[in-house]
Each structure stands twice: as structure tokens, then as C-alpha cells.
């Protein structure tokens, strides 16, 4: 394959708002290019993780190489690089885009442009990609393709009059898309004879081959035996195999050269050595400088993960280790909680990432977990000049040592139909948002711009947004910077003992409300004991809310005769078993689900 001419390669991705049909279009492209028989087609080829399919979200970038026999009689190589579809994975998206030369913009013929459409298309334009639109779901009765075309031209400012009108689901207009890929997406550039310069846009861990690095070769070539170096991490290795992406499989080839997209393996043991965005070069003939845009991935959201059964701690550690092999953005370190025992403080790109990891741990590794309230990284400026990056509320220094604290702020764009502007602005207000401005996208829709504290949106902002706009609002955000904030640590005391796993950092003004809700929730979750249990919320030692779990008055079997003994014993055994699954804090047994219930304070 080394002879493939650059002029007949097309490296592209598809950008879209969630649910606008990105994955379905990808499936059709793969199907129509003929390298895959219908039998080989899974429902959606690209989203191959079970979880991804259930949630309809692509988590890891998948890539596929197909061959297209174009109307001009030539064979073209298509490298379709799939991009993650959620704001949590923005950096991964940006690296995947950097590996492309062009992008297909999919817009739903009924929905039109959404916040994520804009975010993604701007991201693509920022990477100098040639973007052409296609209008999907034209078979829907509510489809308004002409209106959508105009909207694309007005809002994004790209030519849309000749956009293919398609239905990916029903296979309408796909041929047109394929031809547009040939004609509208430029062929890659780059010189085979230059020193190797390849962009890593993803990697997966394989227990036989080690890390499989997904890369786009910008300059030069790489083949088996090439000694390579990762320019940011400094890791070096000797290439064992190079190849390209068949449908769901790795197909080895002789070499990868400038313009090509493929993979390489080099007996690398850890995905940390192959950071997304890093540049691979020839260790012996290195290129002058790395490709631009590399960032170290920063976890935005932190929480504690604990096994419900303390004995499963090593299993949890093994599972996290394995997940991290494939997910360099997952951070974890051991921590100990008085309430929950041994566990891990984990860092995630966002709340969705957190949920996905949690679900995978529970589903794929069969672990029962207790999750503590997710939080962000706060910067604590101490009076002695030290700055602490706080990820666990329990580690907050004594208030007397704190000069001030800062919290992360994001700039957010919310696309909403005009009738809901009022209620969405109200929501942003409640979440301490700072209004920056509003643009009318066209007659009926507006783009609201806000700055919001990250800790106000990690819980349930997305849900609230959806419910207050009857599902119409869409949302995108970017970390902006840190700002001074009046933050306090809210502690929960159960039977007068502080439960570290329930502490969290909150803005001074929300402390009372949150504390009250926490107490109410815990009161419902904690079973009655032999004694009365006060549940208190406190800030800096001052009690701000209280509930009481009344003492148990009666728990007695009135009757127990010969015929009942086995049955009654089972009843008592069940009672005892239930107790075992609880966490003991002082004299109080707290069910695991109480720790989880407090995460969902705002759902009522």
C-alpha cells in the first residue's frame, strides 16, 4: 500500500450534534464503499463499546479505512476518523480533527443547528478543515431542508445550497455524499522524504500487542523497525507493526507514509507514554519541532470511588488499572475515608466521563461502588503563600490557614428557542452564572453566553436545562479560568460524628439550602436505630441544619413456635445480612445507598 498516491487519500471526520445521525451516516459510508458485506455490519460499526451503543455516544475515537470506486473511475482511500461526541471529550475531538483534512457537517433537517453543532463546526474550522454540510433525516415529515440550508449559511457562513439531502437511516443520498468527499475534501499534503512527524489521536491497549497507537502521518514515513520517539512524553520504542484500520480489525501493511492514517505498535506497555496529541518522530532523524496543539489532559471533575465490599479493594485497583490502559484521561490515586475505608480519588474529564467509568467498573468488572459527591479542583491560597489544588474536600486546610480560594469558571454557550430564554436565564442565575450576551441565531432561536462556575454545572445542570426547555436547549462549555469565590466546606454530622465522605465544597450562599436538603435526604435513607440519631449539616463547626432519625420503638416477633423457627430465623438472618452491607460510622449503620442518594439532591 506504500504506493498509494496521496492525491487519492481522503482523511475526514463527521461532525454533528448528538442524535443528528453521525454514526448512522458513518455506517452507510462504510457499507456503500463495499469493503464490508452486510453480514459484517454490526448495527453501528463505529461505536463498538456496549456502553457507547446504549448511550448513543462515541467515547473513544474509532477509525475506519475503506476504498471507494468513484465515478471518475479512480479508487480512493477514505479514512473516516470518528470523533467523540460529548463536551467532556473536547480535547480528544480537537486531536481527531487535527488528523483530518476535511469534515462532513451533519445537520438534522428538522432540528437545524444546535449548540454542539456550532461548537464542533467551529472547532473544525479552527483546524483549517474544509467543511461541507449534508442535511440528514430528510424523510422526516417535519424536515425543512431549505430552512436548514439557509440557517447553515447564515449562522456558520459556509456554502450550503448544494448540500446533499440524505437519509442515512434509509440509505438515501449516500452516493452523493461519497462523491462530495472526493471533490470537496482536499487530499493530504506532506513530504515522504521529510523526517517522520505523526500525530497521535488515540490509542488502545491490547494485551498481546501492547499499546496500539492511532496516528496520522503528516511528514515522512514509518515502518517496522523504525526507532520512534514521542516528543512530549519522551518515550522511545522500536516499531513492531504498522497497519491500517479495517472494519473492526487491524490490518498490517509495509509502511505508513505522509498523508496516511493508521496504527503502529511498538511493545509499549502504557497508554500514558502515548498521550493523545503527542507527536511521533524518528528517534534517529527527528523532526525539528512537534506538531502544535498538544495539551496535557486535565481532569475537571473528581470524586471518590469505594468498593461497597471493602475486600474488593484490590479488584477495584486492578479494574482501574486496566481501564486506564485505554483511557489516559482517567486519573486515580488511593485514598482512605474514615466512613468508606479504602478507595480511590478519581479524576475525570467531566460528569459523563465519570458516569461511563463508573458504569464500566460495575458492569464489566462486576464491582459494587459507592461514589462520593463529585467536585472540581479548587485552588486554595494559604496565608503562608502556598497554593493547594484541592480535589478532596476532606483535605481542605484549617480555615485559619486559608487566605482565599478560587474555583474554575467555564464559558458556556446555550442554544435555546426564544420561548425558553427566560427560564434558562433564570436557571443560569440560580447557578451563579454571569451573563455575557445573547445572539439571535435566526428568528426563533438564540445563543446565550454565560460564564458559570464549573461546580454548579457538574451535578445536574444538563438535566435541569433539558427539563426547563422541554428538551430543546443544547449546551456546550469550555474551561475559562479560575476566579475568587466565597467557598465553604459543608460537613455532615451523623450522631455527632463527622462523615468525611459526605463533606463537600459549596458556595457560601448555597450552603444552607444544600445542607438542609442533605439532612432531609439522609433522614429518609438511614434506618431507625435503637437510639435517636441527629443528622446535622455544619459549616466551620456551626450547625446550619438538622434532622432527626427517631429511635426504633418496636421490632419484635410476637410469635415463634416450632413450625416457625426456620422461617423466623431466616427473617433475622436477612435483617443481619442487611446490616452487613451498611457502613458503620460510630454506632450508626448507614446504608451504601445513602451516600449515593445525596448526589441526587435536585431531582425532586
Amino acid at each position: 500500500m506504500s504506493q498509494t498516491e496521496q492525491s487519492r487519500i481522503r482523511n475526514f471526520c463527521i461532525v454533528a450534534h448528538i442524535d443528528h445521525g453521525k454514526s448512522t451516516l458513518a455506517d452507510r459510508i462504510i457499507e456503500k464503499t463495499g469493503l464490508l458485506t452486510s453480514r459484517e455490519m454490526q448495527e453501528q460499526v463505529l461505536d463498538n463499546m456496549e456502553l457507547e451503543r446504549e448511550r448513543g455516544i462515541t467515547i473513544k475515537a474509532q477509525t475506519v479505512r475503506t476504498v471507494y470506486q468513484a465515478q471518475d473511475g479512480q479508487e480512493y482511500i477514505f479514512n473516516l476518523i470518528d470523533t467523540p461526541g460529548h463536551v467532556d471529550f473536547n480535547y480528544e475531538v480537537s486531536r481527531a480533527l487535527a488528523a483530518c483534512d476535511g469534515a462532513i457537517l451533519v445537520v438534522d433537517a428538522a432540528q437545524g443547528i444546535e449548540a454542539q453543532t456550532l461548537a464542533n463546526v467551529y472547532l473544525a474550522l479552527d483546524h483549517d478543515l474544509d467543511v461541507f454540510p449534508v442535511i440528514n433525516k430528510i424523510d422526516l415529515p417535519s424536515a425543512q431542508p431549505e430552512w436548514v440550508k439557509n440557517e447553515i449559511e447564515d449562522v456558520i457562513g459556509i456554502e450550503a445550497q448544494d448540500a446533499p439531502l440524505i437519509s442515512a437511516k434509509n440509505g438515501i443520498g449516500i452516493e452523493e455524499v461519497l462523491e462530495a468527499i472526493v471533490h470537496k475534501i482536499p487530499a493530504p499534503k506532506g513530504n515522504i522524504d521529510n523526517p517522520l512527524q505523526a500525530l497521535i489521536f488515540d490509542s488502545v491497549y491490547d494485551s498481546y500487542k501492547g499499546v496500539i497507537v492511532f496516528c496520522r502521518v503528516m511528514e515522512g514515513r514509518v515502518a517496522k523497525g523504525t526507532k520512534i520517539k514521542m516528543m512530549a512524553t519522551g518515550a522511545t520504542a522500536e516499531v513492531v507493526e504498522v497497519g491500517y484500520f479495517g472494519a473492526g480489525q487491524f490490518i498490517p501493511c509495509e509502511e505508513l507514509s505522509a498523508g496516511m492514517v493508521g496504527y503502529l505498535t511498538a511493545s509499549i506497555k502504557n497508554v500514558k507514554d502515548t498521550a493523545v496529541g503527542d507527536t511521533v518522530t524518528d528517534a534517529e532523524h527527528p523532526c525539528e519541532k512537534p506538531l502544535p496543539g498538544y495539551k496535557r489532559v486535565q481532569s475537571m471533575v473528581y470524586c471518590g470511588l469505594y468498593p461497597t465490599d471493602g475486600a474488593k479493594y484490590p479488584d477495584l485497583r486492578d479494574a482501574l488499572e486496566k481501564l486506564q490502559l485505554n483511557d489516559a484521561s482517567l486519573f486515580y490515586e488511593p485514598e482512605t475515608s474514615i466512613a468508606l475505608g479504602f478507595g480511590f480519588r478519581c479524576g475525570f474529564l467531566g460528569l459523563l466521563h465519570l458516569e461511563i467509568i463508573q458504569e464500566r467498573l460495575e458492569r464489566e468488572y462486576n464491582l459494587d461502588l459507592v461514589t462520593t459527591a463529585p467536585g472540581v479542583i479548587y485552588k486554595v491560597y494559604k496565608t503562608n503563600g502556598e497554593v493547594v489544588e484541592l480535589t478532596n474536600p476532606s483535605n481542605l486546610p484549617d480555615p485559619s490557614e486559608i487566605d482565599h480560594m478560587e474555583e474554575p469558571i467555564v464559558s458556556a454557550e446555550i442554544m435555546v428557542t426564544t420561548e425558553f430564554i427566560g427560564s434558562i436565564m433564570e436557571l443560569c442565575q440560580e447557578r451563579r452564572g454571569r451573563y455575557l450576551g445573547m445572539e439571535y441565531v435566526e428568528g426563533t432561536r438564540a445563543l446565550l453566553k454565560y460564564e458559570l462556575p464549573l461546580n454548579e454545572i457538574i451535578y445536574d445542570f444538563f438535566d435541569a436545562l433539558k427539563s426547563r426547555s422541554r428538551g430543546y436547549a443544547s449546551f456546550d462549555y469550555d474551561l475559562k479560568d479560575y476566579e475568587l469565590a466565597e467557598l465553604v466546606k459543608l460537613d455532615i454530622l451523623i450522631n455527632r460524628e463527622e462523615v468525611d465522605a459526605l463533606s463537600f465544597i459549596v458556595h457560601k450562599d448555597s450552603a444552607y439550602e444544600r445542607g438542609r436538603k442533605m439532612c432531609e435526604k439522609l433522614k429518609d435513607e438511614i434506618p431507625r436505630h435503637l437510639f435517636e440519631i441527629p443528622i446535622q449539616a455544619a459549616v466551620g463547626g456551626k450547625i446550619i441544619a438538622r434532622e432527626t432519625v427517631k429511635a426504633m420503638r418496636k421490632d419484635v416477633l410476637a410469635k415463634c413456635y416450632g413450625g416457625d423457627i426456620t422461617r423466623k430465623k431466616k427473617l433475622l438472618e436477612k435483617q443481619k445480612e442487611g446490616k452487613k452491607r451498611m457502613r458503620q460510622i460510630g454506632n450508626v449503620e448507614i446504608p451504601q445507598k445513602a451516600f449515593m442518594a445525596v448526589l441526587k439532591l435536585d431531582n425532586e
Binding site: 418496636k554 421490632d555 419484635v556 416477633l557 410476637a558 415463634c560 413450625g563 426456620t566 433475622l572
Partner: protein, 388 residues
Amino acid sequence: MNKKNSMKLGIYVHIPFCVRKCVYCDFLSAPAGNDMRQAYLEALKKELACEAENYRGYEADTVFFGGGTPSLLEARELTDCLEQLRTHYRIARDAEMTLEVNPKTVTQEKLVQLRAAGINRLSIGLQSAEDEELRLLGRIHTYADFLQTYEWARAAGFDNINIDLISGIPGQTTAAWQETLEKVLRLRPEHISAYSLIVEEGTPLYEHLEEYPKLPDEECDRQMYRETKQLLEEQGYERYEISNYAREGFACRHNRIYWQRGRHHTSDYVGFGLGATSMVGCLRWKNTADMKRYLSLCHAGDIDALKEERETLSERDCMAEFMLLGLRMTCGVSAKEFYDTFRMKVEAVYGDVLKKYEKYGLLARDRDWIYLTDAGIDVSNVVLADFL
């Protein structure tokens, strides 16, 4: 262990028939026609005969006909049963012979016949002295019906009578409960069982709870319980088990076997009839609860196949049951008896649990005896579960 020829046995005979099922009842019992009754009694006789050889070395100290409503059997049928028992089992001359009786299922004549046949203790199911409450519970009788039965029983010479009562009936007030107690106390029965109503899953009461008047709340329920104890003690009844009271010398010997079994393994018990449970040595089993199966297996003489849910209790199980059954008795368990039975000190096995609940004031110790305090009885499940 005592000599084999003096090993004691409690015999339970289950009669799974009733006139009509009460709304709170989750016992194995149902109305049945005459044919079914005859078939059952035949089968029961067969079971009694076939099993006899397993209990050669025993002398039965107590016999208990429970149900259901065993008193709805004809006097003839019951005396036949007793006859069969006496033919095949050694029954002590002074054995306690109890029959459960429901008002409106006996006549004076029947009671005289039963007394003559050797029944010397009656347990009468009254439940409440308020007709409205009786109706609500689905009972087939009124308080007046009960009074009639009680008078006939006394006249027939029964001098050991228990009256079953239920507190915590839907809509019941503490005053109404007190009224029931006072009415019953005027009759001076030898024994009173006062249960707090348990709404058991699967019963009509459970399924349609919302259609009934409100159940008394926990506070009220406990108040009734405390009042019961106070009132009955004033009248010379001692509470000897969580729900049982007796005048001196009239504690139910049969039921005590269940609660005090395990002490030196002296008293085993065997249950005959549908769904009856037996405990012999460390073995426990329960007869099939499937009537068709019971009848056909007895008919075929395959008594062994009746025995289901067989379990062999480990030493540890035996210890746990020693504690959790023994603690139902207000006298509690004796540390010495524990040691004599298991050759281990109770403190060595349950030291932590004992200490914990003594600290909470739920268990108390009086020299050799460990017992639940009044507060401990209220929440006894919490305490007892920890012995498992």
C-alpha cells in the same frame, strides 16, 4: 444426656382445616369438605403408625393438637386420633394434652367427650372481646359465642384453659384493648396469649390493608403491650415469654419445649400431619405442605418422602437457637445450662454481643441468667439477630 428410656418428647398434630380463613392468618389451613377430612385423618393415622418405631425410646410429655381449627373435627375423630397415639406412642400419665378450640365449633357434649378422652388443656381462640373487631378480623364468632364455649369448657371439667388474644387490630384504641383484657381477666383463665398483630405478606389483610381502619402506630402498640403486662401481673399472671402469660404452674409445657429445646438435648419434638415441623437431635425437617402429596405418600406408606427442608444443625446453629429461642422466655437463658450443653462458656461465644446489649440496657444479667429487659423485648429482633 439422660438415659434413653426417659427421653422426653413433645408431639404436635396438625389439623389444617378451618371453617373460614381469617384475614390475618398465614397458617397452613383451609376450609375442607367431609371427604377431604376423612382422607386426611386416614393419612394421619398411617403416618402415626409408621413413624412410631422411631420414637420407641421416648415418652411423650406433651401432645398438642393445633391448626387450623382442630376443634371442628367430630369428637369421634379426635378420640380416634388420641387412640392411635396411645396405641403407638408412650404417653406420660400426667402429659399435657392441649387442643386448640375456636368458639362455634364445639358443643357442650363434645367438650365432655374430649375431656373424657384425655384432653386436659384447651387453647381457645378469642382474639378480641369486641364484636366489631372480631368481624374485622374475619372471625366466625362473637364474644357471646366465646363466653358460651368457655362456660361449657369449665363445666366439662377443663381446669387449664388458655385464651388467645390479639392486640394492635386495625382501628383498635388502647381503651378498647384494655376492655378486652378486663373482660377476659374476669373469667380467670389459667393462661393468656397476647400477640401483637403481625400483618403477614400474602394474607388478605396485607393485600388490602388500605381498606382497613388504620393500624395503631408503634407508640400505641407498645403502650398496649406495656399495659397488658401491668394489668395481667396485677392479676397474678406472670409473663414467661414475649407474648405469653400464666398463673403459677400453668405455663404451657408444650410451647416451652420449642423455646427451651437444646438444653441437654432432652426434649425433642415431632410434628405429625401436613406441614408439621419436627426437631430430633440435631435434625430438623418439615412435612410437605402439599395436601395431595401428603395424602398419596401416607397412603403409600412412604413416610420418609414426606420429610422436606431437612437440615442438620451445626453446633454453632444449635448455640444460636439456644440463645434466640431461650431469650424469648422472660427468665432468659442460663449460662450454666449453656455450658452444660455445649461445653463452652456463653461469654466465650457471645461475649461481644452480650456486652454490647447489656450496655444498651437491652439485655440484663442476674447471676446465672441472661435475659431481655422490657426495653430489650420491644426491639428483640435487633438483639436476637446478632446471635446468628
